[in-house]
Amino acid sequence: MNAVILLFPGTNRERDMAIALQKATGKKPTILFHQETALPAGTDLVVLPGGFSHGDYLRCGAMAARSPIMPAVAEFAAKGGHILGVCNGFQVLTEAGLLPGALLRNAGLRFLSMDCHLRVETTNSPYTSRWQQAETYRAPMAHGDGNFFCDAETLARLQGEDRVAFRYVTAEGEATAEANRNGAIDNVAGILSENRRILGMMPHPEDLVDPLMGGTDGLPLFESIAGVFATA
């Protein structure tokens, strides 16, 4: 799998992401600067990693979503390309209109830096196929604006089309208000595009992919997407 990680000014999780991708694919991802205007030929997966692109000016992800590389990313999406956005990358994807909704300031106003638990809400996606339905896994989160919001119609559509990938839950797998620390609508932590090939999520599965990091809870996501291209 040829993965390309986009680098914006203020991105700071590209190396963690590269480690996770390399672990699952055995291949070093390409890191591409935001001022490029084309993706490398043969790109299978575009990854928008976490960080604080452009200092979160105006709105988180707003500036990055208008950077020179983004028209090529939109074109890649239109052709059915696979795109993963984590944390700030999720914010950029919503700002770019590649995923619906928006990420608001956390309901409690606090920057949340801690582990959370996520429940796999669908295994029908290139990113979640190696998990069991309703399996719960641990993932670190670190964000100030992770409060997913969309209108009622969009939410009904996401639910009806099985496009909620992950929800915030307790360690026991219950989607409670306490587990939903940033106040996201319906405990939503990650969503899929209509064709299921674009995933955006706030927590960081790439930070738990090796026992040395304290666990491998996030590894199935990278093995799932690597598997799509290993068999292709």
Binding site: E95, L104, R105
Partner: protein, 94 residues
């Protein structure tokens, strides 16, 4: 004789300013507004209802035609200044 609009001696007030006010839409949670609301209560200010926060963006425009200036500012607001999923905006010219 007055200077032409683009003349170096053109008076600065001939430049048009668009003031774009961006606010969270009704029904969208505004945690900062809530925090300010609580703080005002803590300070003893009574009679304050809901508090909403937004932002004001001032644009200095080369355009001198008010209708064209408004249209340009509106295009900028739709494309970048506001995220219309969660925010509404209004434009005033000055």
């Amino acid at each position: 004789m007055t200077a032409a609009p683009n003349h170096p001696n053109a008076r600065p007030e001939q430049k048009m300013k668009a003031i774009v006010t961006v606010m969270p839409k009704a029904g969208v949670l505004d945690p900062q507004g809530k925090a300010i609301e609580h703080a005002l209560g803590t300070l003893g200010f009574g009679g304050v209802g809901e508090v909403r926060t937004g932002k004001i963006i001032e644009l200095e425009l080369a355009e001198t035609d008010p209708a064209a200036a408004r249209a340009a500012a509106e295009a900028m607001a739709r494309k970048l200044l506001a995220n219309t999923v969660i925010e509404s905006f209004r434009i005033e010219l000055a």
